[in-house]
């Protein structure tokens, strides 16, 4: 009998342990909700990834809202984050209150009823502070429903080797480039001369294709979700990339480690990259320190990345959550993020502030913020669709095969279009 009692006790212990492991979150969330009525703390759970919002800002928010218990959870970034967010939204249950979203925010508009409409919380009041194109990415077509407040933007600019450009006798200061190299055709002519004089190349033909598509006001799907990836604007970008490849000015399509080695060896003299590419160049090409510059990109400005912050409908405290989000993405706090890891803020009013000056030794002492600020105001956006990735991957693979396998460009184009049409037919 004694043994039985002992075993029952052990068993009970096991089950309690399991249940507590599964249910920990419930407990944390349930407790404050009872207290909040009596003026206790409100618990808000927030999901973000490393580099989305600075940790010092989060600490500042905790200090500013003493009545809010802000639980910031750092999750792996990229596809994992999106998958986790999606499963949480579809599964219901105790998800986070505040979530960070990447540039795929527009694809979440389809499920806008899962998010709090930030306009109901008074977001219209702070709208003028932010870049208009960026703001629109988080709002519905009719601008009645807003699911995310802007954090940072990632304007695409031209990275180039000022010394090599000078040697080739082409426009080599940021001002000269902005004035003289206006269109992509100008850029091609410039690359040809640089290649002749210095033997160096630009990014791959796929990079070129992507950056031209980024400058377009049309993407792969129109506002009604119809496929337009086989239309004129895409073909033009494709043809331009192929032309540049045939002129020999593009770096062979290969892995990033090859590209980095070429950059460090001074074989690549220019490429278009988003504002976050600053860190990439610095770590990839330490031997070329001081020789790089950035300039306003020829052909227009695209955007590659930049995140948003929204509130899930399942939250119990939309008001408090909105106050926290508003604080986290306020201009002053975005400056902190820029200083910490180079996320360029989406609030133009601070671009000119002395705090934003960012003179980089790697870029020969150039103030990077001036170029980014100028570019950020002119960003061209296009309708995004959750199926964009599928189209881009197919086109990039086909374009890569033109270089790597010497496939006929026209055949590669029709094959890719066929594959896309079939994949979209489901």
């Amino acid at each position: 009998m004694k043994r039985k009692a002992l075993s029952s006790a052990l068993l009970a212990l096991c089950l309690v342990l399991i249940l507590s492991a599964c249910g920990q979150n419930n407990k944390n969330e349930a407790a404050p909700s009872n207290e909040s009525g009596k003026g206790g703390k409100v618990t808000l759970k927030m999901w973000y990834w490393n580099g989305a919002i600075s940790d010092s800002t989060i600490e500042a928010a905790k200090a500013k809202f003493p009545n809010i218990d802000l639980q910031a959870e750092k999750l792996p970034s990229g596809g994992d984050f999106l998958t986790k967010l999606k499963t949480t939204i579809s599964g219901g249950g105790n998800g986070p209150d505040i979530v960070t979203m990447d540039s795929w925010v527009s694809t979440m508009l389809t499920y806008k009823d899962k998010f709090v409409n930030l306009y109901d919380q008074g977001a219209s009041d702070i709208k003028p502070q932010y870049l208009e194109w960026k703001w629109r990415m988080g709002a519905t077509q009719d601008d009645k429903y807003l699911i995310g407040l802007p954090i940072d933007v990632a304007p695409v600019v031209l990275y180039y080797r000022a010394d090599l450009f000078k040697e080739a006798g082409v426009a080599s200061t940021p001002e000269e480039i902005k004035d003289q190299v206006k269109t992509v055709d100008d850029y091609l002519a410039l690359m040809k001369q640089v290649k002749e004089k210095t033997g160096t190349q630009s990014g791959t033909l796929v990079d070129l294709f992507r950056s031209i598509m980024g400058q377009s006001s049309l993407n792969y799907f129109d506002n009604d979700g119809n496929y337009i990836g086989d239309k004129e604007h895409v073909k033009k970008a494709w043809d331009f990339a192929v032309k540049a490849y045939k002129e020999g000015v593009t770096f062979p399509f290969s892995s990033d480690s090859e590209k980095n080695a070429a950059m460090n060896n001074g074989k690549i003299s220019s490429f278009t990259g988003a504002s976050w590419a600053v860190g990439d160049v610095i770590s990839a090409a330490p031997d070329t320190k001081g020789k790089w510059s950035i300039a306003y990109p020829p052909g227009g400005v695209g955007n590659q990345g930049g995140s948003f912050m929204g509130i899930l409908k399942s939250t119990k405290y939309p008001k408090e959550a909105y106050e926290v989000v508003k604080f986290l993405v306020s201009p002053d706090n975005l400056v902190a993020g820029y200083k910490e890891f180079g996320n360029y803020p989406s609030t133009p009013e601070i671009y000119a502030s002395p705090e934003m000056v960012n003179q980089s030794e790697f870029f020969g002492g150039q103030d990077l913020s001036t170029v980014f600020g100028e570019a950020a105001k002119d960003v061209q956006t296009a309708h995004t669709d959750s199926r964009d990735e599928l189209v881009i991957n197919a086109l990039a693979a086909a374009l890569g095969s033109v270089d790597a396998q010497k496939k006929d460009p026209e055949k590669a184009w029709t094959d890719a279009q066929q594959q896309i049409t079939r994949q979209l037919s489901r």
């Binding site: 399991i18 596809g79 062979p252 991957n393 693979a397 079939r422």
Partner: protein
């Protein structure tokens, strides 16, 4: 059935004790397996409504050249990697097992070491080693007077690189398996053969190989299953871009369809086809090795 339930009821305390395992197993393994069957006949993007599409997922798959290409890639990589690797592993094990070889424990560990490395890091190192312009392999090939090879520009090159990675990783593992098998073979068989004047080659083919059959079956089966689950190598090689030519395996295809393009229903269908393929090949393996048993 009633008897079984009665038995279970009789020893219910014991079953309750092991319940933490099977409760978790039911939730995290059994349920997903059955849910994926349900999922495979639906269309689902992860959030929205699930719509029933019958067997459309399967008919699309069988008409999709990308799927067939993935299957071809997979079989090519699997053969390239595992054929030579298993033979080499057997030779390595045989040599380590020879009585003249000293420091057996050292070699065992040294050969096994690649197996415990972090896969992603290894892939990145191999990627730079096989780089078209700045790779170490091409550097050495030029040094000995050969031409550079653009490894990542052709499907054959890419498959070879992936196969080398897999072979490097699993050679030691399989060698250790074979070694344990070799050590189980009774010494007197070899002594008898020695007395009869058998050559080393004869002892190898007439004694070692037949006695090792169960181990060989095991390694072939495991590398078949592993071979159809190749994922990390091609995924990391190509990064976020589209996969390199010839490198898209079935699991990578499934992953892209499910987690990048959000066709969860379709990805579930692919996983079931993959299950059937692995099952069929395992049965074939088993039949093939058992037939010649007697």
């Amino acid at each position: 059935m009633g008897g079984l339930l009665k038995e279970i009821y009789k020893s219910r305390t014991l079953y309750l004790f092991i319940s933490p395992f099977y409760i978790l197993f039911l939730i995290f393994s059994v349920f997903p397996i059955f849910f994926s069957i349900y999922l495979s006949v639906h269309k689902w993007d992860g959030i929205g409504e699930m719509t029933s599409v019958g067997f459309k997922n399967f008919s699309y798959m069988f008409n999709d050249p990308v799927f067939w290409q993935a299957l071809v890639n997979n079989i090519a990589i699997w053969l390239l990697a595992n054929g030579p690797m298993l033979v080499c592993a057997l030779i390595v094990a045989f040599i380590i097992n020879l009585s003249i070889v000293k420091f057996k424990a050292f070699f065992r560990i040294a050969y096994f070491l690649p197996n415990i490395t972090a896969m992603v890091a290894v892939v990145i190192i191999f990627q730079s080693m096989f780089g078209n312009e700045y790779g170490l392999v091409n550097y050495f090939m030029e040094m000995v007077g050969l031409n550079k090879i653009a490894w990542f520009n052709s499907s054959t090159g890419v498959r070879v690189v992936i196969a080398v990675m897999i072979a490097w990783r699993y050679l030691g593992y399989n060698a250790v398996m074979y070694l344990s098998g070799l050590q189980r073979i009774p010494k007197d068989l070899y002594e008898a053969a020695d007395l009869d004047g058998a050559t080393m080659f004869q002892t190898f083919t007439k004694i070692t190989i037949p006695m090792l059959r169960p181990i060989i079956l095991f390694t072939v089966m495991m590398s078949t299953i592993g071979g159809f689950q190749i994922f990390t190598e091609p995924q990391v090689l190509a990064g976020n871009q589209a996969p390199y030519p010839g490198s898209e395996t079935i699991v990578l295809y499934m992953f892209r369809e499910g987690f990048i393009y959000q066709n969860y229903g379709y990805a579930a269908a692919v996983s079931w086809v993959l299950f059937v393929i692995i099952g069929l090949i395992s049965i074939l393996n088993w039949k093939f090795f058992n037939k010649s048993d007697d």
